[in-house]
Symmetry: C2
Subunit: 138 residues, 2 copies
DNA sequence: TCATTCACAGACTTATCGTATCTATAATAT
DNA sequence: ATATTATAGATACGATAAGTCTGTGAATGA
């Protein structure tokens, strides 16, 4: 059981966008180049982030993506759920008389993790990244 | 991203074994019947639980499975890891200069969940289950 | 107006993994 | 010995992840 690689891409792309925050939108081409992944595949992740309301897209020449919200409002959980969806980690397949106790325990544990991921913002990492070289983020 | 159904089976099977704890081992046939799942598939999960050291198997007639450790020592985490493995939820696929900060955050959150799953024992649920009818556990 | 540059959507392919079954083998009780 | 049980391995099927390709539409700049 693992988060998909798409989540990995999305988190790193978001980190880049948060670290930059230029007026000019960042194109998929540039983003894909920085991360060293395929443009076409990465664009699928970015489209999901747009639909989740995390970033904003600009069509046409000089277009691309930039943050929608305040960067301090974007948590790890936001990005992860935008890609992975919001279904719970565990769902009991048996039909009990009442609620499944096992499911309750696992759901409770998952909630703990989600709480941490919600409190952690992407922007929290930016302070640790050297601004100068501006070339390699990964 | 989800835990596999196999984990669901394993957790319910363990709950049954913990709730029973007879001298006589419980066969796959009985266990599968109680849970309403396939014998052959369920036996794979049980074999994993054996290899993880959670339960003990007895071959031959009147054989089956019974708990190995004290039932209070068996946590949700033990069962889940026996089936799902112990690899982390998230692994960064980029090669950074130093450790990936994103991975550290997610790993930290996962650790929170694991802590909860480790503290919760399967036996904790048994108190809530009526002993009398003895028929339906699911 | 026209061409260029970009995001976006959908169809499609490929690989991997979860789910499940079947068969054969080894161990044990009666 | 024979029936009963766990165990291992091979196999099949389906779903999902990973990735590519192509066309469409929107915005920009010349």
């Amino acid at each position: 059981m693992k988060y998909s690689q798409a989540t990995d891409y999305a988190l790193h792309a978001m980190l880049y966008l948060v670290a930059e925050t230029p007026d000019k939108p960042v194109s998929v081409q540039l983003l894909a180049e920085k991360l060293g992944v395929s443009q076409t595949y990465l664009s699928k992740m970015l489209t999901k982030l747009v639909k989740a309301g995390l970033i904003h897209s600009v069509s046409g020449a000089n277009g691309g993506y930039k943050l929608k919200r305040n960067q301090d409002d974007i948590s790890f959980l936001d990005v992860i759920q935008a890609i992975e969806g919001t279904t719970s980690l565990f769902e009991c397949s048996f039909h009990h008389d009442s609620a499944c106790l096992i499911q309750q325990v696992v759901a409770d544990a998952e909630q703990q993790m989600m709480q941490t991921l919600k409190s952690k913002k992407i922007a929290d990492l930016v302070a640790h990244i050297p601004k100068q070289p501006h070339e390699r983020l990964t």
